[in-house]
Amino acid sequence: MLKIDKELCIGCGICEEQCAFGAIEVVDDVAVVGDSCTLCGACVEACDPGALTLEIEDAAAKVDLASFSGVWVFCEYRKNSLATVSQELLGIGRTLADSRGVVLSAVIIGSEIGDTAQQLIGYGADVVYKVEHAELEPFTEDRYTKIMTRLIKKHRPEIVLAGATAIGRSFIPGVATALDAGLTADCTGLEIRRDDGALLQTRPAFGGNIMATIECPRSRPQMATVRPKVMKSRDFDVSRSGEVVNVEPTPEELQSRTTVVESVSAQQGNVNIQESDILISGGRGLESEKGFELIRRLAEALGADVAASRAVVDAGWIPYPHQVGQTGKTVAPKLYVACGISGAVQHVAGMQSAEAIVAINRDENAPIFDVADFGIVGDITEIIPKLITKIEEKRKA
């Protein structure tokens, strides 16, 4: 609870200005705290007279933080391929492990993993825990959660990272709950604080309008899921050496209360748009399903994948997995080309972390131009075919 000492409070209002949540205000020359207080402590630091204090009751059992050591990375393996975020995690994992002077371990779970486990060493791992069994493909929450929880309890790493993929975002929260560990979702920045070696986890919130840095002061491991495409992977190094440890799942760990009866790969183009380097995205401005064909043609010319605004998905021109925005996916490609998309906040929330943004729209006042790096105002049906021709010419040249 935030405690306010009415005797010490001078009613200066500095706390009110400091509060990012509008939770504190000065009424009759005394600060009063409201329901939206998140106990962040910003006001306490700002209060010169020392009228504000945060009373945090100590969590039940103190965890011996120093008894945890090492950085772990979960490497996702599905349908005989490694999710590319795995190499990125090994890249940042290596950096974190080196800065802590500890071992980097990878965990790979699945069926028919083969040489992939060994390859993780070339990407930066010192130790690879390989958990292989026919029952571990396809993924189920129960099996993965039990195995990961057991391994973490046994080896006590201080940091555990996983990709913010469909699988990572599903079972990692279960693991964190089972371990009573802190977990930060969708991190875009990870660094070690010099003073105490704590992991500082930075992530966007409110659709990317706010960034927040989060820590886990009292518990271990410190867990985070990391957005694909944000961290840099290392070049594969054949000369790196390490150890692959085979881990047998127990019969109990192989039990699952859910059963996958069928695993269906998407038929219509690549739907994993969170891993795409270039996205061509179409909106209502294309006017018809036929108009949307232009998006597919431009994507083909650029070797890109296709995305869409909510309006287009709701109209049925393209399936939901391609939707970018608040109720769709959040993407951060190298290049995002928004065609006929007005740029409502709900859409921008899903794409504003793209490296470069191109907007093509008829309406020069469309908000999409506010986030665009390059913009052209005009008729899409005229512009896109011309753009395709020019790109093809450039390629040939």
Binding site: D58, G174, E215, T258, D373, I383
Partner: protein
């Protein structure tokens, strides 16, 4: 069928901005809405009730004014609303929120199915659903895009994966988180609105649910926010000039690194 739907009151995205000078959230004119993903969870619950019979209870953790989203849910077909509200819950992260909701659901009695939206649009974590299921020791399936079939013992659902979808079979009790593709939510009926107005909302405090003080609010949260700041602003937009053809030439030049 006893169905529990977990909902959250969130600020409308279009109003949320951090003042870059003061690093504080803009307060004026911020409207609260029902988290969009939760609307799909609620609609699916009402459809299942219509098909199989039973009762839909909506539950939220939040300040007293969060009962607004409970009434909205009742106007859309839910039967009961439960508000879990206490100053001691302030500062809860996803771990403490999952704990609190689990205790509250336990208090409200037996259930077959718990439905949640995939994530809330303010935090975007997608962690409370799975955490809640783990706490209650029931199976869970995230990102459900379609309920293929459901009867009184269990269901078959399609869940979104990065490369397509998986078809998953499960028996109750189970927790599902749902995505937008699952249905098209109805708008509240006039009759529903009348019912919502008169509905009794049950309010539960930390004491009512028997919560351990060390597991709720900030003291119970393993994660803590150290700093809040605005994202780096994007650079100035390049302005092209000339005819469309000339502008396109300039654009293609800029796109060279991607070709």
């Amino acid at each position: 069928m006893k169905i529990v739907v977990c909902v959250k009151q969130v600020p409308d995205a279009k109003d949320v901005r951090l003042d870059p000078e003061t690093n504080t959230l803009a307060r004026e004119g911020v409207e609260s809405i029902l988290n969009p993903y939760d609307q799909y969870a609620l609609e699916e619950a009402v459809r299942l009730k219509e098909q199989l019979g039973g009762e839909v209870t909506v539950i939220t953790m939040g300040p007293p004014q969060a009962q607004g989203v409970l009434r909205l849910a009742i106007s859309c077909g839910a039967d009961n609303g439960v508000l879990v509200s206490d100053r001691a819950f302030a500062g809860a992260d996803t771990w403490a929120t999952a704990y609190t909701l689990a205790k509250a659901i336990e208090k409200t009695g037996r259930f077959d199915l718990v439905l949640c939206g995939k994530q809330a649009i303010d935090g975007d974590t997608a962690q409370v659903g799975p955490g809640l299921a783990m706490r209650m020791d029931i199976p869970y399936i995230t990102c459900v895009q379609n309920v293929r079939s459901a009867d009184n013992d269990g269901m078959v659902v399609e869940r979104m994966m990065d490369d397509g979808h998986d078809v998953v079979e499960v028996k109750y009790p189970v927790l599902l988180t749902v995505v937008k593709d699952i249905n098209e939510p109805r708008v509240p009926s006039l009759k529903g609105k009348m019912k919502a107005k008169k509905a009794e909302i049950t309010t539960l405090s930390a004491e009512d649910i028997g919560a351990d003080p060390g597991s709720i609010g900030l003291p119970g949260s393993p994660t803590q926010v150290v700093k809040v700041f605005p994202p780096e602003p994007r650079g100035e937009r390049a302005v092209f000039s000339g005819t469309i053809d000339e502008q396109l030439d300039q654009l293609v030049d800029k796109l060279k690194p991607y070709l």
